[in-house]
Structures are given as structure tokens and as C-alpha cells.
């Protein structure tokens, strides 16, 4: 392998359990976003747009869709002879083998992958944020300050700082303290989970920390250890759009950011584009009686009904008389005639029958997982079916091929769930 100045290691193994059924069949980085994208596309595209041409993607939880999406890296021009994208899954070794126990442990278990490229620097990224960032500028900052470690830092409003990992810095941006969710933050600089390390330093740190912590983690163990040893750690200031989409509500809100007339996060610029896997990308069609306003509609959709303030993924069909409001419909969903959908997230390949109503009634939190579904948004898992004439409330969860007899009186009241178990054929029915 040829030497690379910097390679990226993208941590994409997390479940993202607060996204509820959206992550029951796929890892959080694979969750569709903004109509045609998946969450990981933002970090992947940032790498390419920053000139980072070697990306190791660490997968663990439900990797099938992620692996298919990444392929050999073609969507990001990472199908390269030297470098490109490599999927790094947990694996057996001669005398042992283990799952990735922590973020730093995942990198530790792939030391030999990084060694092959003999890089000067390693960029550590998460795969679950929506943002555009030029990592090459961060590298320049890293070199200018002769850093051992640089940590990307976002300035947040002071009242929100206590929800994050806060970094306390000197005037020259040198970090002297990390505080995890401090009640009285001393700074509003928060850790974005994006690090550049000198590779020799990181390699040594990972080996040492692994001996102490089997679940070696960057935020909990490696960074504090290096800080205690007096290493030069600097906060790289980032300004711009950056959204965590870890909860149903924040996921919904970040999608809705895209439909403003002039969005804060603009995907329509000709530079620093976001790339994704779009193998089949026909135009969309809006029919003679259709009405579409304040929405983004991906390729191949057929809209015969009405769509307002919504995001449609590729190849969604909205039949005549149907109305979709304030909702997110992912790839290949079908919405039958005269169905009305309000504030709903519908995962891929769902079929909603005729004359269905979703999002009616009181805002009662979900009885099964009240902490996850409590903002009035009803969520429907992938490959689900809802029969004709069903009425569904708010904060409901439906997952699986439901039949009329699954509903009392063809109704599902707010806060209730129908989650089908996988049967012998691998179908939730």
C-alpha cells in the first residue's frame, strides 16, 4: 500500500436506539435522510470533498443496508486502486476475537489496517451527523498548532451547553479540561466527535489504554488520558450547520430544515455536494390534480394527491385524493386513495391502504416507549402494511404487515403500538 498523509476512520457501528423502529433493521448511519440520502452520506461526502481518499468504515450493528449502500465506494468516487472505502467489521483472530467494545477499541482492533497506509495523521469521525465540513482545513489547523490531537468544536448557545461534552480552552484554543454534560458549563465549545490524531501518538495511546479499559472509548478514556499526560490538544472551531439526528424529534426537525424556502443547510449548491447511491434515478411526476407545496420530492415519485411540508424519498406513490402533511416518507412507500397522513415518519417499502388516517387525536405519549415517541409523531417501521380505512393516532408505532383484525374497531388510539414479531419466513406478520 502506498503511504497516505491522512486516512479517515468512520465509526458507523452504533445502533441509535433512540430512533426507535427506524433503527431496528439498520444501523443509524444507514437511516435515510433528506429524501434520497442516508445519514452516513454527509460524513462520506465531506471526506471526498476534503481530499481524504481512504476511509475505513467500522460497522457492527445491523450492517447489511450499510454495506450495500457503501459497495465499493462508487457514489463518492472512492472506488480507487489505492485507498478508497474499506468496510471493517469485527472479526475473529487466531487466539481471540471480539465485538467492538468501545469507539477507541474499534480503532484498536484495526491497527493493522491503518498501518498499511503508514499515515501521518488519522481522522476519526462519527457517521451520524448532518453537516458539511472541510477536514483539510482542520488538518491545516492541526499542523499550524503542532497539535498532538485536534478536536472539532461547535459553539452552541450557553443554555444548551450542559447537554454536551464541553471543552474548556485557553485563549490560544488549547484544551485544558473536558467536562461531560456539566451543570454549570465554563465554556460553550462542545465536542463534535471529530478528531485528528498524530498516528504514532494515537497508536501508542490505543495500545496502552486497551490494557486498562477493555471498552476503550475516545471521550471517556483516551482523550482524558492524553490530556493528563500534557499532550498538545487544541479545539478546532467549526461554524456552520451541524445537527445530531439521534432522536425521533431531532430527526424529524432536521429533515424539515431542508424544506424552508432558503434552508439553513443548503444541498443545492454546486460545490461541496453530498453524494449518494442513486443507481436508478428517473424523474418524478406530479399529476393533473396534484398539489405539492413546501416539500422536497426525490426521483421516481408519482404524486397524484396533495403533499405539504413533507419529504418524499425515491419512488413514493401518493394516490389521488391522498393528503400528506408534515411527514417523512422514505423510499418506495405507497399511499392509497383519500388517505390522510399528518406528522408521520414512514420507513422504506411501506404500503398504506385507501381511506386511512394517521396522526389523529390527542398527543398521548407512547405507552411502550414513552421516552422515544412523545412529540406527536407516529412512526411506521420498514416493510409495514396498513389496511384500508384504519384510523391511527399520534405517538403510535406500527411495525409489520398488519391486518384489520389487529385493530380494535379499525382504530389505533394515540400512544399505542402494534409491533409484529418476525415469523418463520422472516416477515413481520
Amino acid at each position: 500500500m502506498r503511504k497516505k498523509e491522512m486516512i479517515a476512520m468512520l465509526l458507523a457501528g452504533g445502533q441509535g436506539s433512540r430512533l426507535g423502529v427506524l433503527t431496528s433493521g439498520q444501523a443509524k448511519p444507514a437511516v435515510p435522510f433528506g429524501g434520497k440520502y442516508r445519514i452516513i452520506d454527509f460524513a462520506m461526502s465531506n471526506c471526498v470533498n476534503s481530499g481524504v481518499d481512504t476511509v475505513g468504515v467500522l460497522t457492527q450493528y445491523q450492517p447489511l443496508k450499510l454495506n450495500q449502500h457503501l459497495g465499493i465506494g462508487t457514489p463518492w468516487d472512492l472506488d480507487r486502486r489505492n485507498g478508497g472505502v474499506t468496510v471493517l467489521a469485527p472479526h475473529m483472530k487466531t487466539d481471540d476475537g471480539a465485538w467492538y467494545m468501545g469507539t477507541a477499541d474499534a480503532i484498536y482492533q484495526n491497527l493493522d489496517f491503518i498501518d498499511q497506509y503508514n499515515p501521518e495523521y488519522v481522522l476519526i469521525l462519527g457517521g451520524d451527523h448532518i453537516y458539511k465540513m472541510d477536514y483539510s482545513r482542520m488538518l491545516t489547523f492541526h499542523k499550524q498548532n503542532k497539535c498532538d490531537v485536534s478536536v472539532a468544536a461547535l459553539t452552541v448557545p450557553w443554555e444548551e451547553a450542559s447537554r454536551f461534552g464541553v471543552m474548556n480552552i485557553h485563549d490560544d484554543s488549547r484544551i485544558y479540561e473536558f467536562e461531560e454534560k456539566p451543570p454549570n458549563p465554563k465554556s460553550n465549545f462542545v465536542n463534535m466527535g471529530i478528531y485528528i490524531f498524530r498516528w504514532d501518538l494515537l497508536r501508542d495511546a490505543l495500545e496502552r489504554d486497551k490494557k486498562i479499559h477493555p471498552d476503550s472509548d475516545f471521550g471517556k478514556h483516551v482523550l482524558p488520558m492524553l490530556l493528563n499526560e500534557g499532550k498538545r490538544m487544541f479545539a478546532y472551531p467549526f461554524s456552520g450547520y451541524w445537527k445530531d439526528v439521534g432522536t425521533i424529534d431531532s430527526y424529524w426537525a432536521a429533515n424539515m430544515d431542508l424544506i424552508q424556502t432558503v434552508p439553513d443547510f443548503n444541498l443545492y449548491e454546486n460545490f461541496d455536494k453530498i453524494y449518494t447511491d442513486s443507481d436508478h434515478q428517473p424523474p418524478l411526476y406530479t399529476g393533473s390534480n396534484s398539489e405539492v407545496k413546501s416539500s422536497i420530492i426525490a426521483e421516481g415519485c408519482e404524486v397524484l394527491g396533495k403533499v405539504f411540508n413533507s419529504i418524499l424519498g425515491p419512488e413514493v406513490i401518493i394516490e389521488e385524493g391522498a393528503v400528506v402533511r408534515d411527514s417523512i416518507l422514505m423510499e418506495n412507500c405507497y399511499v392509497g386513495k383519500n388517505t390522510i397522513i399528518d406528522r408521520c415518519i414512514i420507513d422504506t417499502d411501506c404500503t398504506i391502504g385507501d381511506d386511512v388516517q394517521i396522526g389523529v387525536g390527542e398527543n398521548t405519549p407512547n405507552s411502550y416507549k414513552p421516552g422515544i415517541y412523545d412529540t406527536g409523531i407516529t412512526v411506521i417501521g420498514e416493510l409495514s402494511t396498513i389496511p384500508d380505512k384504519i384510523q391511527i393516532g399520534k405517538n403510535c408505532v406500527i411495525y409489520g404487515k398488519t391486518k384489520p383484525e389487529d385493530y380494535a374497531d379499525l382504530r389505533l388510539e394515540s400512544g399505542n403500538s402494534i409491533v409484529k414479531k418476525l415469523n418463520a419466513n422472516g416477515v413481520r406478520a
Partner: protein
């Protein structure tokens, strides 16, 4: 693999006016995000043909731009692949391709170095979906030397612009006349042929050495009695982009559900070069009905019965009716467009009006700016 492909995409078309001033007919944008050549090229790969030559000449830049990488048509392989042939100079001579037979002759090495028994030839400027395997099977069943795909031309289409064939009861072609004054049938050749590879090499060498360079006139027509040439009837959707009207109608056809079903919904899909545009954006005053819209479009105004390509922008209070807006067109506020074809990157300043008629759609040249 049983066949190699050749797509003839070098021809010049005078009846397309400004639309082909800077581009090959095969590179004409069709259906919101495709180029004409995507249709025959996708037919090739969807029929399992993994070695395809594309012969270019007239305004080839536009086509070479589109064909930047074979991987978008699944032809980025070590075995087979996509070959783009343009005229070139040699030690002895420097000449253009002198005709459809000559362009194959000048690239005969491509055929000699292949091992597949058949060659499928298609023109590059036709919009259709065909499984060539069925045509090859028919060719074998008839024990034909050459098989020519044809269709029955509907009454509302002028047959005199096509190659007209006559066939006998067994399906054998008895006569073939290019653009006849007095057509003897309503059957038109589609410019899609199946022929055995060694026979094609032999025939092309023979006729070119006699100073004959045209595939239809000098080969098919001249050899119709000596060779067993059969007609293969095709009943699917088919359009030749022969003039501005057929180009306009072909695009408008995509507003019909059965045409979208054929090309967009039904497998196998038409492949094209991806452009990584975000989803189309309908803003709060958009009113867009009976339109197809490409990705990356931002719509603020009204649009009816129109084909809107990728990255089109329409301003507030603008109205687009019965028109084709190609990629990157910018329509300012308060514009009115009727029966018009706006070529790529046209800029309409606020209040501009472009009103054509159904008989005479107005064409605005690529990159032109139009003011009130």
C-alpha cells in the same frame, strides 16, 4: 455472451435546428434526465450485451461528455466494456467516416477481435425499449442472414421520413427503400439490425472496397435478393428523434402513464450518468401539475403539462405551459412560457415571455439570455 453491440451515433441531422447546433442527436436530452443514447445503450446492457461500440462523429463532444465513464451502464468491466470510436488520422490518410458502413469498416478491428457470433446494431437517437435476445432468437429461428426490426407506422406519422420495407408472408424483406416518395407499405425499419459477426465483416469489406459506404442503401437494399433478410416486428413504444416535432412529442409522451410505466417503472431500467442532485424542491407558491421534474429543480412558480429537467429554477409568479425546460434553465419571476423548448442553461430574466404554438414550438438556444 452471444452478441456484441454497435450504436451508430455519429450522424448529422439538419432538421433539429438549434438543438443539434452544439450536440449530437444521440445526446439530445429526453424525459427529464436521460439522453437519447441512454435508451439503446441500456437496451444493450439489459439484454446482456457487455461489449458495446459507440461510433461518434458529428458534434461528438456532447456525447463524449455524457459517456465519461462506462460504469453508469454497467460496462466498466475488463471483459468487454464500452468502446467509443471517433474518426482519427492514420499514416496514410485522414478522413471522416464516409457513411454508416464506412464507420464500421474503419473500426473493423473491434469486430475481428470479438468472438461473439452476432452483432446487434442500433441507431443512437431512438427512444425505445427492446430485448435484443428475442430478436436474436427470431433471427435464428428464421435462419436469416440479417434481421431488421420494423414497426407499423401509425396514420398520424409521416412514413416518408423512414426506411420503408415490404415483407412477404414468411416475414422476408422483399424491398427496402430509404425515405421513399411513394411508400409501398406502412412498415418502417427501426434501424436496429441483427447479423452474424463474420458475415458483417465480409459484407462491409466487400462494399467499402467497391466505394460504397452506406449500410441501408449499399448493403441492405442492394443485397435484399441475394441474402435472407427478415423483418422482426416490434410493437412497443418507439420514437425517432428526427425533427423538432418528434423531439417535442417524445418528451411530452413521458407525461403519459403507460410511457412512464414502460421506461421508468418496469424493470429493466434505463440507465444514465448520475448527477448527484438533491431532491426536487417545491416551494410554498409552487403549483405544478401534469409535469415530470428532474432532481435538483427548485420550483416557485406554476407549471403545467411540461417536462422539467434537472436543476431548473422557476421564479415566483412564472407560468410554464406545454414546454420543455432543459437542465440548468433559470426562469425569473413573472415569466410566461408556452410551447417552447428552452435548451440547457438558458436564462430568462424577470418578466420575459416566450410564446410559441403547438405547430411551431419556439426553441431558445443553449445558454442564451432572454430579457423582457
Amino acid at each position: 455472451m452471444r452478441a456484441v453491440g454497435i450504436i451508430l451515433a455519429g450522424g448529422k441531422n439538419e432538421r433539429m435546428g438549434e438543438l443539434t447546433k452544439f450536440r449530437a442527436t444521440s445526446a439530445l436530452p429526453v424525459g427529464g434526465c436521460y439522453r437519447a443514447i441512454d435508451f439503446p445503450l441500456s437496451n444493450m446492457t439489459n439484454s446482456g450485451i457487455n461489449k458495446v461500440a459507440i461510433i461518434t462523429q458529428h458534434n461528438s463532444r456532447s456525447l463524449h461528455d455524457h459517456l465519461s465513464s462506462p460504469k453508469w451502464w454497467d460496462l466498466g468491466s475488463k471483459q468487454g466494456g464500452m468502446f467509443v470510436f471517433s474518426p482519427y488520422q492514420t499514416g496514410e490518410n485522414s478522413m471522416w467516416f464516409r457513411g454508416t458502413a464506412d464507420c464500421i469498416y474503419q473500426n473493423l478491428t473491434y469486430l475481428r477481435r470479438s468472438n461473439e457470433p452476432y452483432v446487434v446494431i442500433s441507431s443512437g437517437d431512438c427512444v425505445y425499449k427492446m430485448d435484443y435476445n428475442e430478436m436474436i432468437a427470431y433471427h435464428e429461428r428464421k435462419n436469416a442472414d440479417i434481421t431488421v426490426a420494423y414497426r407499423q407506422v401509425p396514420d398520424n406519422d409521416d412514413i416518408r421520413q423512414y426506411g420503408v420495407i415490404e415483407i412477404d408472408a414468411a416475414g422476408r424483406i422483399t424491398d427496402l427503400e430509404e425515405k421513399p416518395l411513394e411508400p409501398q407499405s406502412d412498415l418502417a425499419s427501426l434501424g436496429v439490425y441483427v447479423i452474424s459477426r463474420p458475415l458483417l465483416i465480409e459484407l462491409i469489406e466487400t462494399i467499402v472496397n467497391e466505394g460504397r459506404y452506406d449500410l441501408v442503401r449499399d448493403l441492405l437494399s442492394r443485397y435484399r435478393k441475394r441474402l435472407r433478410i427478415y423483418g422482426y416486428r416490434f410493437d412497443g413504444y418507439w420514437r425517432n428523434l428526427g425533427n423538432i416535432h418528434s423531439y417535442f412529442d417524445c418528451n411530452m409522451d413521458f407525461l403519459r402513464r403507460e410511457v412512464r410505466n414502460d421506461f421508468i417503472v418496469q424493470h429493466p431500467y434505463v440507465k444514465t450518468k448520475p448527477k448527484d442532485e438533491p431532491p426536487a424542491k417545491y416551494n410554498s407558491h409552487a403549483h405544478v401539475t401534469n409535469c415530470i421534474v428532474g432532481s435538483g429543480a427548485i420550483l416557485n412558480g406554476s407549471a403545467y403539462r411540461s417536462v422539467i429537467f434537472r436543476k431548473v429554477y422557476t421564479g415566483e409568479n412564472s407560468t410554464v405551459t406545454d414546454s420543455i425546460l432543459m437542465e440548468g434553465t433559470y426562469v425569473g419571476n413573472n415569466c410566461v412560457i408556452e410551447y417552447a423548448i428552452l435548451d440547457k442553461d438558458v436564462i430568462l430574466h424577470n418578466g420575459a415571455r416566450i410564446i410559441g404554438t403547438i405547430e411551431n414550438p419556439i426553441v431558445i438556444t443553449k445558454g442564451q439570455e432572454v430579457r423582457l
